[in-house]
Amino acid sequence: MPAESNDLQYADIHRDVVRSIVETGRTYYITLATAAGITLVCFFFPWFYQLYYGIGAAGMNHPGVWGTYLASFIFWIGLSHSGTLLSCVLHLTNSPWRKAIYRSAEAMTLFSLMVAATMVMVHLGRPWFIHWTVPYPNQMELWPNFRSPLLFDVMAVTTYLTGSSLFIYMGTIPDFAAVRDRTTGWRNHMYSLLSLGWRGTDKEWHRLHWAYTFLAVLIIPLAVSVHSIVSWDFAMSIVPALHQTIFAPYFVVGAIYSGTAGIVTVMFVLRKSMNFGQYINASHFDNLGKLLLVLSLLWTYINVVELFTGWYSGTSTEYEALKYKLFGYYALMYWEMILFCAVLPLLCIFKRFRTSFLPMLILSIAINIGMYTERFLIIATSLSRQYLPDAWGLYVPSLVEISILIGSLALFVTMFLLFVKIFPSVSMYEVKETMDTPKAEPAAPPQGSPA
């Protein structure tokens, strides 16, 4: 662990994390303004344009009635998976290396889910009727169909968003209290409210431990169910190449894979921009690299199985869908996906690669490009080749769709930038737990008191 090897003390962690919240440099404001500007120009303006002129502004048309919006939805839901899920699994298995990185990973979950939910709104022609998906008494006697995977989605994503928000909040209460004592003005009021009067008593720690553990136990099956349900949006149709039983594990493994790669990217950026090199170090990248290697092998295995079962079925439609995926219009993208997600991650076999920051960053970005491609291909290649040749056709995203895709990345970055100035992005108390007990380091006089 970093904290053990460096001669850090409790007060150092406190100081560094509080500094990351209260001290804001010009670079931060420039980055935030750029991200917010791109969000406005590339995400909201095209979306308003699409709302004004109709859904035809997007490139979706028969047979490609689903496009990059839904590919982005799956991508962002997938990216959300490593944060809270990994944090829960590592919490229950008592893995100390999780402690420095999990807070930001959980935030990644939260914001990915928010972007994913927004992508559904963008995909809808009339998003102002989104509340019709929720069962509530109304005079029109509108009531959702509980047999539809789309409604499963509403239930699962809402539950996951609620669970992830509460999980990250509950785990941050002690740190809110610690920051409260070191801040003044509006920040002190805000942290006083958020910390709920936490004092760090033995009783409070005991309650927090059990409540946090129960949430972790509940969230693991929930996370698995969320992406399984997303896969059923496709697998419960009768479209060749989509109607497959392996889709649920395929999606879950893909989600954890892209999420873990996302964590590597975020950790690299945090390490550089917040000067958290002492807390997020080579050992974290080493462990994440091992995880990426295992997940890439699993993902590759499932892809091979998908190809094999399609070929072995002997069905002409399945066979055509496979042939189209491997050698058709989108073949270049397919092989790019294989290169980025199945071949390049094999570099993680070497410890030297896993502990090198820049190569790991490049690999993590490559994996996520590959995983976005995978989601795009699931939709584009299958809908383009359905049963009858007269129903075949191509899907190519319009400028509006491409712009919204870029804008969704900027939206995620904007939300994350706001997060690091409100939440302590490294869990102070859990990093302290991994260290020796404090030595002679005088505490600075506190300026606040609990509610």
Binding site: G197, R199, K203, H206, R207, S225, P450
Partner: protein, 170 residues
Amino acid sequence: MTNFAIGLFREPHAALAAAGTLKRAGFATPELQSPVPIEGVEEVLGEKKSAIKHFTFFGGLIGGISGFSLAAGTAVLWAHPVGGRPIITIPPYLIITYELAILFGILFTLAGFFISARFPAIRERVYVPEAAVDRFAVTVACDDGETFKRAEVILRESGAEQVRAQTEEG
């Protein structure tokens, strides 16, 4: 109004030992405040029980029943026969049941945490800000000056680097 003696320690095991000595000397159960959870508290101050698990269990149960009732009730009230298949179709409804069981389980767990840890704090309680950074505090209620002196002696003998008094309203 209650008066407290507060002992500040640099090391957790010294604070824990002091709390144990105070308890054995007949003081009302001392409280520890610390920047991290301290291991072995229950061996010294007695086992702690919380009702959170019951909240989680009943939350999950209520959520599951609600989820299935919602889906099945909808199907019965707005019957939609599809090719002679059953009106109440178990496999899809189990998914709604599962999701709502987890949702309610999570919400009830949060409620259980708030109730059992007494959050949010409405009144001012005895608090040692140093214990949020790098000190371990033992707080114990003292009825009068004599008791405070006894507590102070125990705390100092156990290695407290500072002993002070604080009053809690209410």
